[in-house]
Amino acid sequence: MTVKPSFNWLRLRRLWRPAPVRRHYDVVIIGGGIHGLATAYYLARAHGIRDVAVLESHYIGFGGSGRNTAIVRANQRTPENVRLYDEGLKLWRTLTDELDFNLMFFNCGTLMLGHSEAAVDGYRMLASTHNLLGVKSEVLDPLQCAELIPGLDISDRPAFPIQAGLYHPPGGVVRHDAVVWGLAKGAAAHGVHIHQGCEVQGIDTDGSRVTGVRTSLGTIRCNRLGIMAGGYSTAVAAMVGIELPIHPLTIQAMVTHPLKPFLHHVFSSGAYHVYANQTLKGEIATGAHMDPQVNYTNDATAYYLKHQAEALVDLMPVLRGVRFMRIWAGLADMTPDMAPIMEGHLRYDDLYLDAGWGYFGFKSGPVAGKYMADYMATGERPEILEAFQLKRFLEGRYSGETAAVMKYGHWD
């Protein structure tokens, strides 16, 4: 006998239901983050490939997808990257309709602050690139920056005075949990199986083929396998002896107690290693620099609380005395050129990889999933992914998202 709830509108409806684990799937995807879920969703919706399982060792959104600061923008540096991120940015509105789930896209615009002549020159270059490609971006002088964000100290007092800003109106913030849940809902509605608590512990191969995975829920065979494990992708690739040009590093973020709305845009500063925005709840959400050592933890440290407080207050003195409520960390899978790796037929015929997104992988999740689904469905690389092949690192060609090859430490 079940008790009928008296208020039907209070009844929580499940977004998706767990399914029994099958011993074989056409496609298996390792990683229940935005990239894995989006790929599964598009495989099912756009290609009618529904015999798909997403295997997640913890719970969906456990990785970077549930830990990021949710900033979305398309103001990358190279045309190849701008094009991909621009399409990704436009996808939020479509997806909100398509998934029938409010992703809470807050189109507030982003402002990147420059504190040196070199930075200002760089922003001019960026703005030209963006405008050439039809992406809105403009260089603002300090006064215009302060008009946009009144709390900024544009005087000479800060350690790094503000010299200019790159304003990018199409950017903003999207609720990251909603994206995870919405994609899971959409994927499951199209028949995709999502298995949480299913840790991949080994990958089976036979000659030139991948045949399946060994997991904490037993062996699961498949025809095609996608590694989309975010910061853990290097550990998963190591299971089949594949080395990658990726360093998994923790990045920390924190929120203050809620304040009256006063900050209406995202702002960031490379020199201070700070980016911040005010959430719809009123908290200042802010992210910091990365920890230097490779690791697979989610450890946060007091060190960054102090760094962040000092940096924020120097840039925006009105924040003095505001307290942090929470701090957390997640992984960023860093490549030498700050651009991702989207690859098919990776050593084995049916092995695919979508990783190396660093701290840009939230904004690009759905669009990457869309094209990875095309790639996995047809076996042929979509034209837009040409620039993101693994082999560029072996040919001395870099995607140029940074002017030089990135170094995260003193090695090499």
Binding site: A238, P248, Q293, T301, L394, G409
Partner: protein, 87 residues
């Protein structure tokens, strides 16, 4: 949670005093016989399983010594090396 590393000179110190020097990977390959591709691979590609690895660290904000230690990327913590700590 922060952690400490054992500097051979100063003892256990906070990790933020140190600079990470990457995995211990043996001597750099000889440049003469090295193809461009192998060079790029050696510079950039890494195998990083979730298990203890031997690493280089530099006590930048301390005594300035470079040293090796074994640390588990899964926990961030140092672990006992297998047997003779010098190897």
């Amino acid at each position: 949670m922060t952690f400490r590393l054992t500097c051979p000179v100063c003892g256990k110190r906070d990790v933020y005093e140190f600079t990470f020097g990457g995995q211990e990977r043996g001597p750099r390959p000889e440049q003469e016989e090295l193809s461009a591709e192998d060079h790029f691979r050696w510079m950039q590609f890494r195998m990083i399983p979730c298990e203890p690895q031997e690493e280089w660290w530099y006590h930048a904000q301390g005594c300035g010594v470079w040293f090796r230690t074994t640390r588990d990327p899964g926990t961030n913590l140092e672990v006992e090396g297998d047997g003779d700590g010098d190897e």
